[in-house]
Structures are given as C-alpha cells and as structure tokens.
C-alpha cells in the first residue's frame, strides 16, 4: 500500500495541505496574493466587459444559418470577397516586400539617409483620416491634383479614378501601401540593426556581399520577423476600415467594399446589424488560423528583434 503510494508520488513534490494553497497562489504570501489579484482585476474586468462580452454577443448575433444564405446570395457580398482577397494579397505582400528592400536601403550610413528617413516616415506620422481624405480629393477626375499634374506634364486628361471599380480599388491598395510601408520599414530596419556586426563582417570577408549576402545571411536571420510582420499586417489589414471608407467610400455603386466596411454598411446604412455581423463572421475561417499561428509565434518567439 505504502509502496504503491510512494511510486505514484515519485517525481512529484510532496504537497501538504498548507503548501497546496500556497502553490496555487504562486508562492505568494496571503496579503501579497490579495494585492496581486487586486492588481490584475482592473484589466481582467476591462477584458471581460469590452472584449469577451462583445465577442460572445457577436457570435450570438451571427449564429443563424439563414443569415449566411442571405449574405452569400448578395452580389455586393460576392464582389466584396474578391476585393478583400485582392486587397490582402497585394496590400500585404507589396508593402512588406517594399519594406524589406527599403529597410536595406536605409541601412546606408550618412546624414542624408537620416534626413530622408525623417521625411519617409511622415505618411505614418500623419493621421489616416487627414491623408486619406487628401488622397480622395487628389483623385477627383475633374479637379484632382493627380489629373492636374498629368495635364500640366503630358497634356492628357486623366480618367475619373474613383468612378471605376478597378482603379478605385487600386487607389485604396496604393493608399494603404503608401500609409503603412514606413511603419514596417522601421520594424524591419530595427530587425536588421539587431543582426550582430560580427556576422555581417565575417560574411563580407567570406565574399557574401550584395545580393548573395542578402540571400544567405540577412534574409535567413530576418525570416521569422518577416513572417510575423506579414501575419500581423494581414490581420490589421483585414480589420482596416479607414482606407476604403475615405479613399473610395466603397463606391462606385458599392463595388469596392471590403468585409470590414461591408459589415458596418449592412449594420448601419441598411439597418441590419445581424447581416453586418454575418459579413464580418464570414472571415472567421481565415481569421482563426491566423490568430492561432500568431499567438503561438508571438508567445514563443517573443518577437526576436
């Protein structure tokens, strides 16, 4: 009897009643444990009331199957899905690739590069609403700055950029790239700076410079960071409301919506909140795997920078 009990207990610390409750508290004394709980409570309350509750409420609102039948039959929804995929594929990848290249460019020494970087981050520093409204007016067919420049330089009349689905969607994507490339360039620049000088120097001695150095030394070291940035930027872009709302307004004729803006439109413009939630929830098959991968990556990698 006693033998078998000791066999079970092998490899386990002997836990007595008194120390059991202490180990549950993580080795904190009574008073300290109360304080620690009191310190965590405000955030846990905020999370429960303003994140967890809306999530559950949203899942409940969008739980009827008939909503999805209605949604999938809607031609606006169908074009929205195409737009969202294009926006994701081009917006994320072009932006991240440019950021990767430009972060290498900004590694060059000299005051000139520092000054250039100050100007380059301006699109990110200026609030989105201001710049997207400016771009919206810039692309006006009759009085916009872009067509005025085209006329002044080449004496040609530019098109009405925002009156055609594809140029309007292109404008949204380019605006997004314009706005967010500086931010990701800074992140990747920080990643490049974190590569020890000795590695780069010894690689240079071994003849790995230029493209070779990038392919064999820099990129492998940056790959994990690049992947995390790409995933994060995919999630952020999927939830992006402002670029579409202010650059194209979802127009012409609701042809350039993405899921985030279509959800808000369905909920507030045609006053069908459940349909709006369903539009957003239809992105869950994509969001859930992304969230799981990202949570793993961010937790284990601690974002090595």
């Amino acid at each position: 009897m006693t033998d078998s009990a000791s066999v079970v207990d092998v490899g386990r610390p002997a836990v007595r009643r008194g120390t059991l409750s202490r180990s549950l508290r993580g080795g904190l004394k009574g008073g300290e444990y109360t304080w620690a709980v009191a310190f965590v409570v405000p955030y846990v309350a905020v999370f429960a009331a303003f994140v967890a509750y809306p999530v559950v409420y949203g899942l409940w609102m969008g739980s009827e199957a008939s909503l999805y039948r209605e949604l999938f039959a809607d031609p606006i929804y169908q074009s929205t899905v195409v737009n969202t995929i294009l926006y994701l594929a081009l917006g994320v990848n072009v932006k991240m690739f440019l950021a990767l290249l430009l972060s290498g460019f900004f590694m060059r020494p000299g005051w000139w590069m520092k000054a250039l970087l100050l100007i380059f981050v301006l699109p990110w520093a200026v609030p989105q609403i201001s710049t997207f409204i400016s771009i919206h007016w810039m692309l006006n067919g009759e009085w916009g700055f872009l067509n005025n420049v085209l006329y002044a330089l080449f004496h040609t009349e530019g098109p009405s950029w925002l009156n055609d689905r594809w140029t309007a969607l292109g404008a949204v994507i380019v605006s997004h790239i314009w706005k967010w490339t500086p931010f990701w360039t800074l992140i990747l620049l920080a990643g490049r700076m974190a590569i020890p000088v000795e590695i780069r120097d010894s690689a240079r001695v071994d003849g790995a410079t230029g493209v070779r150095g990038f392919v064999h030394i820099t990129f492998p070291l940056l790959a994990n960071l690049y992947l995390i940035c790409t995933l994060l930027s995919t999630i952020f872009l999927l939830g992006d409301f402002n670029a579409v709302t202010f650059v194209s307004g979802g127009g012409p004729a609701n042809s350039t919506h993405v899921l985030a803006t279509l959800g808000i439109r369905d909920a507030f413009e045609i006053a069908n909140p459940r349909l709006g939630v369903a539009a957003v929830m239809s992105a869950l098959p994509m969001v859930i795997p992304l969230v799981i991968i990202l949570m793993r990556k961010l937790r284990t990698a601690e974002v090595q920078l």
């Binding site: 508290r25 989105q128 409204i133 400016s134 939830g239 985030a260």
Partner: protein, 301 residues
Amino acid sequence: MSTITVEARLSSRTRARTRSAVRLRRYLSNAGTVVLSLTLVVWSLVPIYNMVLISLEPEGDVFTDHIWPRAPSVESFWGVLTQGHWYLEHFWRQFANSLFIGAMVTFFALLFGSLTSFAIGRMRIRHGWLVSNAALLTYVIPASFLAIPFYRIMQNYGLADNPWSVIAALVAFATPYAIFVFQEYGRSIPIEVDESARIDGASPPQIYLRIYLPLMAPALVAVGTYALLLAWNEYLYQFLLLSSKSSMTVPVALAQFLSSDQSPWNFMMATAIIYAAPPVAIYYAFRRRMTAGLTMGGVKG
C-alpha cells in the same frame, strides 16, 4: 630586374583599372541613391502637399487646375481657428473632446497595463499566463470586427453618445500592447531589486509605486505616446458611438464634411492639417522612445 619592373607596371595598370571600376560603381551607386531618394521624397510628400495646397486656396478657388498655390491665403486656417464656417461651429469643443478621450485612454492604459504586468511579471501570480494570453488575443483580433456588437452593448448600457463608451473600447484595445511592452521591458530590471525591498518590509503597492514605476519610466513614455496617438487617430468607434455635434471628436467632424457634395475643401484641408499637427509633433518629439517600443511587435492600425 626587368621582369620586376614589368610586373610592377602591369600591376599598377590593373590597379588603375580596378580603381576606375570601383569609381564607376561608386558613381552608379550614388546616382541610384539620389534617384531613389528623390522618388521616395516625392512619393511620401504628394498627398501631404495636396493637403497644404488646397488649404491655402482662397474660398471658391478650389475648383481650379493649378498645381502650386497661385494666391496663397491663410483665410481657411483662420476660419477653422475662429469656428467661422457652419461645419466648424463646434471645432474647439471637438478638439477638447479628442484631447479628453486621448488623455483618459493614455491614463487608463498605462495604469491597467502597468498593474497587470507588475502582478504577472514581478509578483509572478499563478495563472498569469492566462491573462497574458487574453491580452495577446485582444491584440490580434481586428477591432473593427467587434464594432457592431460593441455598439449594441453600449446602447443597452445607455452609454450612447457618451465619450466613456469610446474610452472603454480604446482602453480595451490599447492595454494589451502596454502589457507586452512592460513585460518585455521589465525583464531588463533584476527581480532582486523587488526582493530586497520586500525583505525590508515594503508592501506590494509600495514596491509598485516607489520602485517599479520609476524604473519603467522609458517604457511608460513609449506606451503613453502609443496610446495617445491610437486614441487621437482612431475613427470607427468614435464615428459609431458619438453622434451629436457637441460630443463628437475632430476625425468624426472631419468626415462629416464629406457627406455633402459642396464641401468647402479648403476649410476641410485646413482642419485636417490642424488635426494632424499634434500627433506629428508628438511623433517627432518622442521618435526615439517610440521606435524602442516598436520593436515589440507593432502599433495597431
């Protein structure tokens, strides 16, 4: 002896050739740098230039085809500052609303974030990882996806058109980032500092106030800047939750201009510039601190 001179001459010739090749390459690379730099400057500045250009137009001169200010006037800026257009009746009120929301979001994100990270990272509370994961989950859920249920809930709570509903939403979305940065930064502070204070009889709130917060000052500045800019730049929640002219914030008021066909574009762009000035100033003032915080993973758009 002659062979030596021949060799020397040869080597000097090849040396000259490589030197000129190096010079050519350096020249090409410099030319490339200049071209790329100019492209980047133009690319970055065009929408901002357009904003300035239109804000400097006198009234009624917006619908023209020139590409530089022909008769620049600061009339529209003056109009914004004196609330001289019916779109801008409540401009200063709205500016104050934006400031109030920004200040409150910054305060609560810093308070809740630092308390949570102290309990998890320093006091090592059991199941602290659950709280970290909740924060991480919040960070990777797109905020706009929760807007519709959040709006419904605020209606049910009777918080419609109340700035505190916006503050609640933004604190919920800003605090996770605060928790990460504080935990990351806190790792650089040895835990022995806390332990020795504990042995000297300091209670947890004393350690938090007297030791933890002062040592965390750089991280507090970085996260505070982040939270302030997040609240100032946010649009969707402010648009949905604040509807009356006296409770709305500057970005919502700015978007109101777009609702009519005959927008006074010069006033609109002047408003956009005045609205953009504080975050740009803060950004450049705290740039170094910000990029230190950035390395954690990113600022949520």
